[in-house]
């Protein structure tokens, strides 16, 4: 009970039932701890409705998106079913989808093969017991499994708040704006409403970044390093692209070591700490994922199986080179379209005019962030007062590195198969911070009272218009809807 009260963190005694001495944990106490969200002070006042709104929105989206129309949802569902039925992991090219998936063959990259069995199985293994206890057909079970993604999405919004609060405790706009941005980014919402391991990757990456930023700010204890290692291992066992987090981990740990090495005095001990920290945070997760690497090498001839993916015609034909991607404007337009729209299979693009408005508004916000970086670089030589503390600069550097690494991941995937912007979504909290930081620092004081409500209004209008004009009519209408691809 005391723990719950402490986690509650408000400093107030709290309601009587929270204080009641009882041998068992009172259900209301648990609910209070969850809903109270460990948020300090008045932030709870808006966090509760935000999470409630996100929950309602996500449940609506679960109902909205047609069964098995999420990207790779057919493959992921039947991967879960395969493990749930005790049929093992399977090998790409040998595992075929059951005949009942035929109506959805247009939503499968390599029909009738299940290409997703090339992925590590953590997400699928976690959901397999739930699949087993559920009754009914594939569609009944699919909608229940989608609720797991909703729960993970709620976790991501919550971590977004904690991250913003940790880095920018002095800014009400960022504390509220970052979780708002994440909660209403339409493609992250899509991920959090379908059956796909990407949402678990997003949740784990968000958690990893939070722990790393915490370590960067207040030091890496052994427990924290083990936490980093375990979260990274879980991420790798969900999707191997999680490996893009490793350079970010190294940066955070090495930076902490660099800042503290003189304070520790003994150089050998400092080096010892660095080696030990890197072992726990980087080597341990790599060791833990090594059985999967060995299995892929044994089956496909390379540790990630990417060579096998390249052989799938639908995938391999779209592969490109870094130079081609960098120098093709249409490639960047598609990345912007994917980031804000398209809903997985690109079946629901926005109209050009609607997209252009989004890009201009977002572009201005990001440009302010870039301007802030330039200003902070020039602040010292010109004697201007800095707008960011040293901790904030360090934190944002690590955040920007994580965004950069995942952006590189988008390009890397493009050299193997067709690529999509969703590979950057695990860094959505970082994208939100980068998008809103410039606004926060350059906003005139008179505009501050309306900044957060205006941001909410912009995001709501964007979401409602996108849903009403494009997404709902794609699936539903008096004259039919829901396109099953040929």
């Amino acid at each position: 009970m005391a723990g719950l009260a402490r986690l509650h963190g408000s400093g107030r005694r709290g309601p009587e039932w929270l204080q009641a001495p009882t041998a068992r944990i009172h259900p209301r106490a648990v609910a209070h701890a969850v809903v109270g969200l460990w948020a300090a002070g008045g932030d709870r006042d808006w966090l509760r409705p935000l999470l409630l709104l996100f929950l309602c929105k996500q449940l609506l989206l679960v109902a909205l998106f047609g069964a098995f129309t999420g990207h790779d949802e057919v493959d992921h569902y039947w991967y879960i079913a395969r493990i749930g039925a005790g049929d093992g992991l399977g090998v790409v090219g040998e595992v075929t989808l059951p005949p009942e998936t035929r109506p959805y063959r247009g939503y499968v990259a390599d029909y009738p093969n299940n290409a997703e069995v090339i992925q590590p199985p953590l997400y699928h293994a976690v959901l397999a017991p739930l699949w087993r206890v559920l009754h009914g057909g594939a569609i009944d079970r699919l909608f229940v499994l989608r609720l797991f993604s909703v729960a993970l999405g709620l976790g991501v919004v919550w971590i977004a708040y904690l991250t913003a609060k940790m880095l920018f405790p002095e800014s009400p706009f960022l504390r509220a704006g970052v979780p708002l941005f994440v909660a209403f980014q339409p493609q992250l919402s899509f991920e959090a409403a379908i059956v796909n391991h990407d949402i678990l990757v997003i949740a784990l990456f968000s958690l990893l970044m939070y722990v790393l930023l915490k370590g960067l700010g207040s030091g890496f204890s052994t427990r924290r390093e083990i936490a980093v290692g375990l979260v990274t291992a879980a991420g790798l066992w969900t999707k191997l692209s999680f490996g893009l987090a490793i350079p970010v981990i190294v940066l955070a740990v090495v930076w902490t070591w660099w800042d503290n090495r003189r304070r520790w005095g003994d150089a050998v001990w400092a080096l010892h700490w660095l080696v030990g920290s890197l072992f726990l945070t980087v080597a341990v997760p790599l060791l833990l994922i090594s059985p999967w690497f060995l299995r892929s090498f044994w089956l496909y001839g390379d540790p990630t199986g990417s060579q096998r993916l390249r052989q799938i015609q639908e995938f391999g034909n779209s592969a490109s080179t870094y130079q081609e991607m960098f120098t093709t404007p249409a490639f960047w337009r598609e990345r912007l379209e994917d980031f804000w729209g398209n809903y997985g299979w690109r079946n629901i693009p926005y109209d050009a005019g609607f997209s252009q408005v989004i890009w201009v508004v977002w572009g201005l916000a990001v440009a302010l962030g870039v301007f802030l970086v330039a200003r902070e670089i020039l602040a010292r030589p010109f004697g201007w007062p800095p707008l960011l503390s040293r901790n904030q600069v360090r934190g944002m550097t690590v955040v920007a590195t994580s965004v950069g690494m995942l952006a590189f991941g988008v390009l890397y995937v493009g050299t193997i198969q067709f690529t999509q912007s969703r590979f950057i979504f695990p860094a959505m909290i970082g994208v939100a911070l980068i998008s809103l930081l410039g606004i926060d620092r350059f906003l005139p004081p008179r505009a501050r009272p309306v900044a957060t409500p205006v941001l909410l209004a912009v995001l709501m209008v964007f979401n409602v218009v996108a849903l009403v004009r494009f997404v709902i009519p794609f699936y539903y209408g008096p004259g039919g809807g829901g396109v099953l691809l040929p």
Binding site: G42, D45, W46, R48, P49, L50, L52, L53, C56, K57, L59, L60, A63, L64, A67, I139, D140, F143, E170, P172, A176, T328, P329, A330, W332, R333, N347, I348, P349, D351, A352, Q356, P386, L388, S389, R390, Q392, D440, R448, P449, A451, T452, P453, L456, V468, R469, F470, I472, P473, F474, Y475, Y476, G477, P478, G479, G480, G481, G482, V483, L485
Partner: protein
């Protein structure tokens, strides 16, 4: 005193949200009909050739707009086109015929990567369009008869109140829930989302706007 101000603020915000919600629900909005990738293709699959027309199936009443991706390859300053909309099937007469005169810049084949490649054509609505099949085709005017041009893609739209869109969704809830319980569930969720939004707006409006000074850590 502060409480009174808050209550007034809450009242204004609540009223604004209600008015906005009613407006959004009742004012007609242009919705795009369902099609893979959002477009109808202009290809004759049987013969494997590109043609200057395509079939569309509006899934809403009030079909009143097409967006055409026209591409011209000849250096004329202006192009004359006629757009025909007719029910699909043999010997059907046009139900809408629209004449266009477009500058070359609107239809030139090399369109910028970030440009809108479509030309929007509005016409009087076709009332009972939901579920019907139409053939939309384009012919060039006499002046451009010998010019080289093509039609890449067609998008089609209806103007309907947002409420009609919501109604269509509520009428088709997820299969496992069943029609009536599912419909009630969706309405309850929409009401819940609306209430949570109002609560959130009020809560955000109460956040103290002052930013603390940056701590030099």
């Amino acid at each position: 005193m502060r409480r009174r101000v808050d209550q007034r603020l809450v009242g204004w915000i609540g009223a604004a949200i209600l008015v906005a919600a009613v407006a959004v629900t009742l004012v007609p909005i242009s919705v795009r009909h369902n099609a893979p990738l959002g477009v109808s293709r202009t290809i004759d699959s049987g013969r494997g050739i590109a043609v200057r027309g395509g079939y569309i199936v509006p899934n809403y009443e009030g079909f009143d707009r097409v967006d055409l991706d026209l591409r011209v390859y000849s250096e004329e300053p202006f192009y004359d086109f006629t757009v025909h909309v007719r029910p699909a099937g043999p010997d059907q007469p046009d139900i809408r015929t629209i004449a266009l005169r477009l500058p070359r810049s609107d239809v030139w084949h090399a369109k910028g990567a970030f440009a809108n490649p479509y030309v929007t054509i509005d016409f009087p609505e076709i009332a009972d369009s939901a579920g019907s099949r139409y053939y939309v085709w384009v012919e060039s005017g006499p002046r451009n008869r010998d010019d080289i041009w093509t039609l890449w893609r067609i998008k089609s739209y209806s103007s309907v109140p947002a409420w009609d869109v919501a109604k269509a969704w509520i009428a088709s809830p997820p299969e496992p829930l069943g029609r009536w319980p599912g419909g009630v569930f969706l309405v309850a969720l929409m009401a819940g989302a609306f209430a949570a939004l109002a609560w959130l707006v009020v809560a955000l409006a109460r956040i103290p706007p002052v930013r603390d000074r940056v701590r030099r850590v």
